[in-house]
């Protein structure tokens, strides 16, 4: 047996310190990598990052805009977190978000102006959850009852949802399309009664709904019997079966819940800042960013909240970059780098690396001497 230079051993329970340090270091490492590429293309990385921080936090307007993006990101982050915790690989947050938006705007338009806000807003938000869960069910039902790989089906459903939204706005005279603007296709504005009120610049109360749902998700997973059984299934489906837990039903439940969370992200966007089914404002990749949020938050629903705020800041910095001549895709590149370092960090949270002890090396020496 050859002498190993390093020994890798499992740490057992992850320490809280590492659980915080690793994501923070991941972001810093990604900024360094991004800085190298920026420097290679002749940009001053410090200046670019300064501009990004300014764009995301530099004024009360900037902070409120960052919080507007935070709300749906909390929900797509939760969607990924609850699913991944159960080893349900729902990569379809994107499509589920869009279907949440389609359902929410559809119901809001159907309700019209006559309904009071006290009814319209909850109904519209519920509709978005149903829309997301419905879109997830197309992948969830075959997975649970036939064993179909959900990674591919959820991915493909993203593209189908995007095209359906485009069909509703660009390809047809659907009720979702604004009849006032035939030349420039856009979503029909939802009635005022279905819009969540704003309280600070453009920021609406949707952010509190998102935070409340994150707290609720934490409670559900860590403080209820249902959540306890869920975590057993996530650790080992066989153990769960042995304990008499209905595994299929649990997986179906989590998959639909995950879809509902992503759908709610679309609903909050429609009932909040976007105000209709507008493809240009909804197709932002928030579903995929949710996966980064979940990974950095280490699948913890509470941690999703601050991480979503950070990622929202990164997204909102994109347009500001363009104005100083730096490609806005810098943001996507940084997001990818953050996720790369975050998954790499999982290894260091789970394992301890140390040098082999001297006693291991001693016999080699004596052999060599002999």
């Amino acid at each position: 047996m050859t002498q190993r230079r390093f020994i890798v051993e499992p740490r057992g329970l992850a320490s809280i310190r590492l659980s915080i340090a690793v994501p923070v270091l991941s972001v810093l490492a990604a900024l360094v990598v991004g800085g190298i590429f920026l420097a290679l293309t002749g940009e001053n990385a410090i200046e670019v990052y300064g501009e990004m921080i300014d764009a995301a936090f530099g004024s009360s307007r900037a902070i409120s805009e960052t919080l507007i993006t935070t709300a749906p990101l909390i929900l797509t982050g939760l969607a990924a977190a609850v699913a991944f915790k159960m080893l349900v690989w729902n990569i379809g947050g994107e499509g589920q978000l869009l279907f949440g938006a389609i359902f929410a705007s559809g119901v809001a338009i159907w309700l019209g102006d006559g309904t009071s806000s006290a009814i319209a807003i909850p109904v519209v938000i519920m509709a978005s959850a149903v829309g997301g869960a419905f879109w997830a069910s197309i992948a969830a039902i075959p997975k649970v009852y036939l064993g179909t790989n959900e990674i591919i089906t959820t991915l493909m459903l993203n593209f189908i949802a995007l095209n359906i939204m485009n069909y509703l706005i660009f390809g047809s005279n659907s009720p979702w399309r604004d009849p006032e603007s035939p030349q420039f296709p856009q979503g029909r504005p939802i009635p005022e009664s279905a819009s969540i009120p704003e309280f600070w610049n453009r920021l609406d109360y949707g952010i509190f709904i998102a935070i409340a749902i994150a707290l609720l998700a934490y409670f559900l997973i860590y403080k209820t019997r249902w959540g306890f059984e869920l975590r057993i299934v996530g650790d080992s489906a066989d153990t769960a079966r042995y304990a008499g837990i209905g595994v299929s039903k649990k997986i179906l439940g989590v998959f639909l819940l995950s879809g509902a969370f992503a759908g709610l992200a679309g609903g909050l966007f429609v009932a909040g800042p976007v105000g209709g089914l507008d493809p240009r404002s909804l197709d932002l990749g928030l579903g995929f960013t949710g996966i980064i949020v979940a990974a950095l938050a280490r699948l913890n629903p509470i941690a999703v909240i601050p991480v979503a705020f950070l990622m929202a800041a990164l997204i909102n910095a994109g347009p500001a970059l363009q104005s100083i001549g730096v490609p806005s895709s810098t943001v996507t590149m940084l997001q990818g780098a953050i996720l790369i370092f975050a998954v790499a960090g999982e290894f260091f949270i789970a394992n301890r690396i140390r040098r082999p002890e001297r006693t291991d090396a001693a016999p080699d020496k004596t052999e060599a001497a002999a």
Binding site: V8, F37, T41, G42, E43, F84, W89, I91, I138, A139, P142, L146, G147, T148, N149, I151, I152, T153, L155, M156, L157, F159, I160, N163, I164, N166, Y167, F170, G171, S172, F288, I291, I292, A295, V326, P327, S329, T330, V331, T332, M333, L334, Q335, G336, A337, L339, I340, A342, V343, A344, E346, F347
Partner: protein, 319 residues
């Protein structure tokens, strides 16, 4: 209405299917070693921008293709390191690579004072034969009328098939994907094989990406997302091709046809041109989902030939 539309559809399907063949065969090699790489989409884009940049600056198609290969192989090391050395979730690692690659390709295409974006390619792959055999009915456009990369795709599929099923190295590859512990016991270096095949897969994805921006039949201009969703489709094609390179050729052509069908229907006149293009664009994705559910659900995926150790990190110390 044009009477030759079925032939035109098939010929176009072969062109659209060609980059899918490279990416799918590449992913088959990686998955046969037990590594699921969801980074194909990002790898193809990095290959595409590298190839376009190299051809743009030198005018050489060969150099462009080589840069696509090298860039695809190099960027794939990220996935190999994460999933083989660090043994983290291959799914999240692959998604990370796709995000990073997508961002990087778009960034490189737009960065600098004189960005690539919007520029046509400095050279393009064109059909080898003009007239003669290429003018024959049916077989002309289908067999003789293509550029060299279409034929190279056949060669790659054939070589991959031969390698996997007829050579000793191919046997080791399949052993690593089925049962890494036994393969290791038999003296095979599991990590080395996995690294190598993830990188070969990346190189082939790089070729696929390069073809999109260097073929006169596709869109030889640099834009942000020149490959559509090809990388994602390729991952579905691996399963539909049941992890066999030759079947990947036919699966890729089928999806090429599905992607082209919308455009063909537009030329057929009433009532076909009334179907909205946004809905026609969903055909390949709907086809992939239906095919997955019907042919590859549950145990059927195993019978198709899914490697038993696919996606499972291998811990040598535990054996």
């Amino acid at each position: 209405m044009n009477e030759t539309w079925p032939i035109e559809l098939l010929a176009a399907a072969m062109v659209l299917g060609t980059p899918l063949i490279f990416a799918t065969v590449g992913e088959i090699l990686a998955e046969r070693s037990g590594i699921l790489n969801l980074g194909v989409q990002g790898t193809m884009l990095v290959g595409a921008v590298s190839a376009f940049w190299a051809t743009f600056n030198t005018g050489s198609l060969l150099f462009g293709l080589l840069m696509g290969i090298v860039a695809g192989a190099l960027i794939s090391i990220i996935h190999a390191f994460l999933s083989v050395t660090l043994r983290v979730s291959q799914i999240v690692a692959g998604l990370a690579l796709t995000l990073f690659g997508t961002g990087l390709a778009s960034f490189l295409g737009r960065a600098g004072d004189d960005p690539l974006v919007g520029n046509p390619s400095a050279a393009v792959f064109e059909p080898i034969l003009e007239g003669g055999l290429a003018d024959l009915p049916v077989v002309g456009p289908l067999i003789f009328g293509h550029d060299i990369i279409v034929y190279l795709a056949w060669l790659v599929a054939g070589l991959a098939s031969y390698y996997m099923f007829r050579t000793k190295a191919g046997l080791s590859l399949r052993a690593v994907g089925e049962d890494p512990a036994s393969a290791e016991a038999a003296g095979v270096n599991v990590s080395r094989i996995r690294y190598a095949h993830v990188m070969i897969g990346g190189a082939l994805s790089g070729v696929g990406g390069a073809y999109y921006v260097l073929s006169v039949r596709l869109v030889p201009t640099w834009q942000d997302a020149p490959i559509g969703a090809a990388g994602w489709i390729a991952i579905a094609l691996v399963i539909l091709a049941s992890w066999r390179p030759w079947r990947a050729v036919f699966a890729a052509y089928l999806f090429g046809a599905a992607a082209r069908l919308g455009l063909t229907l537009q030329t057929l006149g009433e009532p076909w041109n009334n179907v909205p293009s946004t809905l026609l664009a969903t055909i390949p994705f709907v086809l992939a989902i239906v095919a997955m559910i019907v042919f590859a659900s549950g145990e059927r995926a195993r019978h198709l030939g899914a490697p038993a150790a696919l996606g499972i990190p291998y811990f040598r110390e535990q054996r």
